[in-house]
């Protein structure tokens, strides 16, 4: 934990192209994307849970990307929240005030309401999508069952079975 606290929390500004690329998920890992905002209560409630998942599965083929839908000039507030959660995930903020256009670049069918959480396999398939609070246990089980590094043959199959 001390190591996590020592790590610098970073935010990166993104373009519409970056968001299109994020949706394609070409990084070779299972990807959890969390769209959130500083002013969104449920999002703030969930953020530490997602960071916990990243601490659990981040050493495997799993990535967590948080995307704040705050306006660009609200970045100091975004960073403050992320720092408070020791958010060592990849943290993105929008680069333009044209919020809807940027969010549509990620998902044209999304109404831009947060929280919006997606679990995307390394082949681009969405295996979980949630508007509103996630089901933490369901999400964990889906993560174990879909991680890109199936290095214990039989284990993923077990977690895909009920």
């Amino acid at each position: 934990m001390a190591e996590i606290e020592k790590k610098t929390v970073l935010v990166k500004t993104v373009t519409t192209d970056d968001l299109k690329s994020l949706r394609r998920n070409s990084g070779g890992k299972l990807l959890l994307v969390d769209f959130w905002a500083t002013w969104c209560g449920p999002c703030r409630e969930e953020l530490p849970k997602f960071e916990t998942l990243y601490r659990m599965y981040g050493h495997r083929a799993f990535d967590l990307v948080t995307v704040s839908i705050n306006y660009p000039d609200e970045q100091p507030g975004v960073l403050k929240v992320l720092n408070n959660e020791h958010a060592t995930s990849t943290n993105l903020v929008l680069g333009s005030t044209d919020i809807y256009a940027q969010l549509a670049a990620f998902d044209p069918n999304w109404n831009a309401a947060v929280p919006y959480t997606l679990l995307i396999r390394s082949d681009g398939e969405i295996v979980y999508k949630s508007s509103g609070l996630v089901d933490d246990l369901q999400l964990r089980r889906l993560i174990i069952a879909n991680l890109a590094d199936d290095d214990y043959i039989g284990h993923q199959a077990y977690w895909k079975s009920q």
Binding site: M56, H59, Y158
Partner: protein
Amino acid sequence: MNALSLVALKGSVMGAFRPAGGNYVRSGAALLCVVFSLLIAAEENGENHPILPIGSPAPDFCLPGVDGTTHCLKDYAVSKVLVIAFICNHCPTSQLYETRIKQLAEDYKQKGVALVAIEPNNPDAVELNEMGYTDVGDSLEEMKIRAEYRHFNFPYLYDGETQKVSTAYGPSATPHLFIFDSERKLRYEGRVDNNVREPLITRRDARKAIDALLAGNPVSVPKHLRLVARPSGFTRRQDERRRWRKLKRKRFS
């Protein structure tokens, strides 16, 4: 992270293994999870926790179960055979054996065999980065979640608080079975079978032992997969552990 090393003496290829992630050991075809919190306790107390020798009487226990009641050794006095299975939540090998242990309990229930599972790990000893293959950790509350999700058909008891029962039995890994005869003398200890991958199993050691006991015969191979754990340099500063605990609590808030 730690210099904990293990040597498999029986049941597979001999050799020393360095656990990846601190608690997994690949030994031949078998991957086991070490009951490593016991090792920490052993080191901190300067004590050893040997595996219960064959022929020993069953150490007594009274432990809380996921069903909300307390289960004691004497509750199973009428059973012809008693199987004590040390399993846990976070270990992927233990998970892979859940189905087989359920089947074991089911198949032998009518024959007078009782199966009781005990979770030996202290949940605080399992750090978040050691939970990469699990949905939940090893606390009693989380055991309830697992038992319900996987429809456990056996009592699942929590010994993570004091680990006294686990220290008395001395499981070296999960899963680790201890099988007692009608007089509650230990007649078999070790693995469930000889392959984690079910289609490759050629010997179901636990079933062989139970069958022998039910038939009034001696168990042909009374020990299997004995692991000797040699803890060294495995300490964790108390303040560091408290910080992890705090972080873990946060996740359920």
